[in-house]
């Protein structure tokens, strides 16, 4: 018997931004339930609140109303410092623009999240190597980001996101900046992480071709979600 457990649960979430005296509603009564081990793609027009959803799940932003439970923690109620520790343990984030630190090598970038753990130096080195080998960059350990192609940079970004073995992988348009070929490589990699390692993945994308790699696709428009 398989117990399907929701690892991400958003209930009646409302989010709006205030700019001047104007309130911009982004999410209204938004509900989402992601079972453990699911690969979910979120699609929707620009400005529909996709990035906002990921930020809320990662605890980088707070809802105006509603509750968000992620990996057993009520994210919307945590204090800043606890949230940072929780995020280090449970969340891996992949960015559209890779966001590698330019003065650090591929291996050092991947090692960054491990600096927050109590792992020994040799243990860290072992995990960094394993993560980079997993994304097919075992031979690029000492390259700086500017010495890598966009696709390679994004794979380093993915290695950095998974090196700490987080519960959930969040990816905001991970292929948004890549050509078809590099995008395919990245998506194949994400699918492998999902299938072979059982990672829960929530990915935002514009591209239906990319969304096809996911198990489930959620269409959002102004905070109204509808699954396909």
């Amino acid at each position: 018997m398989v117990i399907i457990q929701s690892v991400i649960e958003c209930c009646h979430v409302t989010k709006s931004y205030v700019r001047g005296d104007q309130e911009i509603p982004v999410l209204r009564n938004f509900n989402l339930s992601v079972p453990n081990g699911q690969f979910l793609a979120i699609m929707g027009p620009s400005g529909s609140g996709k990035t906002t959803i990921l930020n809320l799940i990662a605890g980088l932003d707070r809802p105006v109303d509603g509750t968000i439970r992620v990996a057993g923690t009520e994210v919307s109620r945590q204090r800043e410092t606890e949230l940072a520790r929780w995020r280090a343990r449970h969340i891996g984030f992949v960015f559209q623009f890779y966001n590698l630190i330019p003065v650090l090598t591929a291996a050092e970038n991947v090692e960054l999240p491990l600096l927050l753990s109590s792992l020994s130096k040799s243990e860290r080195a072992k995990r960094v190597r394993a993560a980079l080998e997993l994304v097919g960059l075992g031979d690029r350990l000492h390259h700086y980001p500017r010495q890598l192609s966009g696709g390679q940079e994004q794979r380093v970004g993915i290695a950095r996101a998974i090196v700490g073995d987080p519960t959930i992988l969040l990816a905001d348009e991970p292929t948004g900046n890549l050509d078809r070929e590099a995008a395919e490589a990245v998506m194949t990699l994400l699918r492998r992480l999902h299938r072979e390692l059982g990672k829960t993945i929530v990915m935002v994308t514009h591209d239906p071709f990319v969304a096809d790699y996911a198990e489930t696709v959620l269409h959002v428009d102004k905070g109204k979600g509808s699954s396909r």
Partner: protein, 389 residues
């Protein structure tokens, strides 16, 4: 890799900007060290004063002399274990620039009361037996290249006429703070000339130096001395040698105070220079801080990274500043001693001065880090990630 690796790499990003900042801080430290060295040289004179010596002078002014007859009355006071005296000779060597302090002293008792003037026994004997003899300090001897047996011609100002003294000895200071720029001549020989040409002012002394048995009685004894001569022809004012020296430099003391203030102001300049660099460096990396926070870095980690960067730049500046100070101080000493005579006898850099400068800079660096740190911590991660940078 550790956080320190990241700090070092971050400092290395803008080589030109960081180099200029480091040079700026180094220059400030150099100025700070020169100022503190000057101030300390100044105080060294005051500190060199022995706590067990009192100075008795005319109550009205140092330029009015006291009768020689006070000597025996002073010696008779309980608690005073030695009495000597001196006159300001005020001679000029070659021209007005060639100024150095000359004291006409009672040779035996003066040397007896000033054991910090260390002298070869033979030289001491020669000085005591030659009325035209003189003693000079080692620094003074070095300055003019004088050696034992040389004749020093002086033009008298307070004691008119041309004088010639033969160097009978060169003393060394027992302490680094001992003034080695004095010239000691014999009171009896100058007084003899006075008797001939200015008999009214003969047999007087500029001030008395008293040795006391117990320095804790200095206050009581000073009052006892002054009470003894109250209502007499020449009333006295007695104070510790330290107080006397401090008073001697009192007027210039306010310049010293100004210099001290300047040293503090310099730290303010460091603060601004460093804060400026840090604010730019931190703002340029807004997105990276947001990324680090997304990875789970806490406030304290960011604080460590930014403060570490400030400290590293400040430390580089400090090291360079110290490296610059050591040769610069020699140059400065030459400049100051030729322009101001030997007024600053002690222009040496104490290690504690260097430590003080570096420490002040590092503390300042921590303050400078606060401004960019607060900006970085206040920033909204979600917003910062949206901005493409």
């Amino acid at each position: 890799m550790t956080l320190v690796t990241l700090i070092i790499r971050n400092v290395h990003r803008q080589v030109l900007r960081v180099t200029l900042t480091v040079l700026g801080i180094a220059t400030i430290i150099l100025a700070f060290n020169l100022i503190i060295t000057t101030v300390r040289a100044w105080y060294a004179g005051v500190e060199a004063a022995a706590p067990n010596r009192l100075i008795t002078r005319h109550a009205a002014s140092l330029s009015i002399h006291l009768p020689l007859s006070y000597r025996d009355r002073l010696a008779a006071i309980d608690g005073i274990t030695g009495v000597t005296f001196a006159n300001w000779f005020g001679g000029v060597y070659r021209d007005a620039k060639g100024f150095f302090p000359q004291f006409a002293v009672d040779p035996e008792s003066f040397l007896d009361l000033h054991p910090e003037l260390m002298l070869d026994p033979d030289e001491r004997r020669d000085f005591l037996s030659d009325r035209r003899g003189c003693l000079i300090g080692r620094r003074l001897a070095d300055l003019y290249g004088w050696r034992v047996g040389d004749v020093i011609p002086l033009k008298g100002t307070l004691y008119p006429g041309d004088w010639e003294f033969i160097v009978r000895g060169i003393y060394r200071g027992a302490e680094p703070s001992t003034d080695e720029n004095w010239m000691l001549i014999r009171w009896d020989s100058v007084n003899e000339r006075r008797r001939q040409f200015d008999p009214d002012r003969a047999d007087t002394v500029g001030w008395y130096v008293l040795r006391i048995a117990d320095s804790s009685t200095a206050g009581a004894l000073s009052r006892a001395v002054d009470d003894t001569f109250a209502n007499s022809v020449a009333e006295t004012r007695t104070e510790t040698e330290q107080a006397f020296q401090a008073g001697f430099v009192a007027m210039s003391g306010s310049i010293v105070r100004a210099l001290e203030l300047l040293a503090v102001v310099l730290n303010g300049v460091t603060l601004l220079v460093l804060a400026n660099t840090l604010v730019m460096a931190v703002r340029e990396r807004t997105r990276e801080w947001a990324v680090l926070r997304t990875l789970g870095f806490e406030r304290r980690h960011l604080a460590a990274l930014i403060t570490g960067e400030a400290l590293l730049i400040a430390a580089l500046g400090s090291i360079m500043g110290i490296a610059m100070t050591i040769p610069a101080i020699d140059l400065y000493a030459t400049l100051v001693s030729t322009k101001l005579g030997n007024f600053f006898q002690q222009l040496v850099v104490y290690p504690s001065t260097l430590v003080l400068g570096a420490l002040a800079t590092l503390i300042t660096a921590c303050c400078a880090a606060v401004i960019p740190l607060v900006t970085a911590l206040r920033s909204n991660v979600a917003d910062d990630l949206r901005h493409i940078g």
